[in-house]
Symmetry: C2
Subunit: 406 residues, 2 copies
């Protein structure tokens, strides 16, 4: 070991809220973000919700000399919205798309079309691999009646599993992104417990920014004020998490968030605040991050809680699968009945037609429409049931493994 | 190292062709497979196309004492069809669903509904992790005009990336499954080159079974004879691949395939032949499987070839996206025109109705149907374009990395 080399890694993480035609003052904000990143010179930039490839290309051109390495993750109908800019070479990337991500018929929420994913970037420092996943989980639309909670828990579980399986050979794992969950939520506890990742906000020696590290605050002119009414200080849903594996230690020297308008302008970067961490990475003899084994009991509780929520979602999905299937069968029966009546009339069995042609035709089309829609829904909910069931199985396996540990 | 412990690992791999209501003599064959596995006592059993969970449960009960550990991978509308039975504890599992898998409107091929995936099982021997992915790739329906080739190449690439990223901490990686590709096909060369996996058939000291290791043979009563006409000996599309990482060596002592009817009966296990390998795993000082670096040039050629094919698929998908989008716009225009005409009539602008009501109504419904269908297709092909483009990007990055290596 060549005298314990150290690295001060400056990380920038932001949910950019850059939806074409929908996000306010998008181009102006993208320009602002690009200028700031160029000026500040971070080592690693993790951006989410860069939905337009055009915006990515613009940033790439602007940042080419400061951040020579970058990657844009493509997925779903619209894309994953994830991109990474790095001062260190990017050796390899991998995209993992969550198996569940909202409902195609909830057009107003749009999560289904996005193909939300976690993107993994493998980078290198002093010929040691560093592993940087960046991600966004399913949004929360209503905290009280949160129909998406099981989907978000499946995503949190898949994310945790993905990180565990892919980071085994990395020395440092750094996760940045919008988890769409509060720090004390079961999904965040599951992710942290199952992977051993530490929360930069909780570990930081110095902190500067919005109170409690909030990243969705009422002071930001783009946030939806009514959604934040129960949380006058705002909420913290964007995170930088990290852990060291093997013979490395990572410490969070400083964590900052932006606080509304960017310096010298009247607008913020996004409806989310950016999170900026300065991490101190050092090679050492002592392996760090081995906290996983010590907290097995607490972890088992978290996994149990998450499994219960997934089970609730599973039951709801099963009910929806059943009712959409029944609807499809009814529509099919109606169509068959109509076909029989029409054939009967054609064959001259009935002397006069019981219905006017137009109503008959309209009814047939209606039945056909219901049949197609209900079949589609049935297929979708069947898939949902499978994935929820599969995750529940995996969680049970994990629980058994935890309980059997000596 | 405690005197070089060795393990003789007996692996069984079979595409079971167990589709409810469709596969011939399914229940009989599942019983037969169960009996054979129970009698033979393999160490690891990788099964594909076990589409019905009922069949898995039946096997699980029957094999409980010989193979105490098992896992069924759920995904997609129908499922992944993958399951694993093991004599060694299964520590953890992970499912990775390919981003592209055929077309939803190709109902007769059904791949889209299956959620084809690779399932990863992490097991343990002598407290060393062993990593066993099992999988099935998209089927090939017509070798001459293979519209699915780009999808299969994306799957092969994703599979290779998945194995590379997840197996870094494993000592032995063993992949069994139906690749739906011939040994010399670009997808198989890509997978082998990019992961460093070795083909058990090519490496086996002893071989016994169908000529050339074929697993889809005309002698099997369930195979489609017309599809195999150009290949009188049959084709080899089921594989057992392996590699050793770190301080292990793996040798394939023996490879066998079944040859038609199972012993003592008149029916084979499936339309595919089973592949059975006996592997000799030994802990050693010398790291094995480091053949990847030596063949960089050949690997670059394979990646280039694969990228070209993906590019062909990308262009086709872009064309389809364009034409479905145009169709949707035309249907929308027709609907708007009709709406204008109807409003005009209602407002009394036109004194008499130009069309009979029924035809007018039928045309509107037709336009609506086309609009819905074309929009769905447009969304699907948009996703396809994104994924093909993303894979092409990743392959380009891999090529650059290969070319820049000293």
């Amino acid at each position: 070991m060549e005298g314990e080399p150290t690295l001060r890694l400056r990380v920038f993480d932001l949910n950019c809220w850059a939806i074409r035609y929908l996000s306010k003052r998008r181009q102006e904000r993208i320009r602002l973000i690009g200028d700031t990143l160029r000026r500040e010179g971070f080592d690693l930039v993790l951006l989410q919700e860069v939905w337009s490839e055009q915006d990515y290309r613009e940033l790439k051109v602007k940042l080419a000399d400061r951040y020579p390495f970058s990657h844009y993750f493509r997925s779903g109908v619209i894309g994953s919205g994830l991109c990474v800019f790095s001062r260190f070479p990017i050796l390899d990337t991998l995209l993992y798309q969550y198996s569940l991500n909202g409902y195609p018929y909830m057009l107003q929420h749009g999560d289904w079309f996005c193909g939300k994913s976690v993107g993994l970037v493998v980078s290198v420092w002093e010929s040691e691999p560093l592993c940087f996943p960046s991600l966004q989980l399913h949004a929360e639309y209503c905290r009280d009646e949160d129909a998406y909670l099981p989907h978000r828990l499946v995503q949190a579980w898949e994310l945790a599993q993905f990180i565990r399986h892919t980071s085994k050979a990395a020395d440092v794992v750094l996760l940045g992104g919008d988890l769409n969950m509060h720090p004390e939520d079961v999904g965040v506890r599951l992710l942290r417990g199952w992977t051993g990742l530490r929360d930069a906000f909780a570990e930081a020696t110095r902190f500067e920014g919005c109170k409690n590290g909030c990243t969705l605050v009422p002071d930001n002119r783009f946030t939806n004020k009514s959604e934040l009414l129960p949380f006058p200080l705002g909420i913290r849903i964007d995170y930088i998490l990290y852990k060291a594996i093997s013979s490395f230690t990572v410490k969070c020297e400083e964590l900052k968030t932006t606080t509304g308008p960017a310096p010298g302008t009247d607008i913020p970067f996004s409806d989310h605040e950016a999170v900026m961490a300065t991490l101190h990475i050092q090679r050492q003899g002592q392996p760090a991050g081995a906290t996983l084994g010590t907290a097995d009991l607490a972890l088992a509780d978290v996994v149990t809680e998450a499994r219960t929520e997934v089970d609730v979602g599973l039951r709801a999905a099963q009910r929806q699968r059943y009712s959409s299937g029944r609807m499809a069968v009814l529509a099919l029966l109606l169509l068959l009945l109509q076909a029989t009546a029409a054939l009967g009339t054609l064959a001259g069995l009935g002397t006069e037609q019981p219905f006017p042609k137009l109503s008959f035709c309209l009814l047939a089309f209606l039945a056909l429409g219901v049949l197609v829609l209900a079949t589609g829904l049935h297929l979708f909910h069947t898939k949902e049931v499978k994935m929820l069931h599969g995750t529940e199985d995996q969680m049970s396996m994990a629980l058994r493994a935890l309980q059997e540990r000596p």
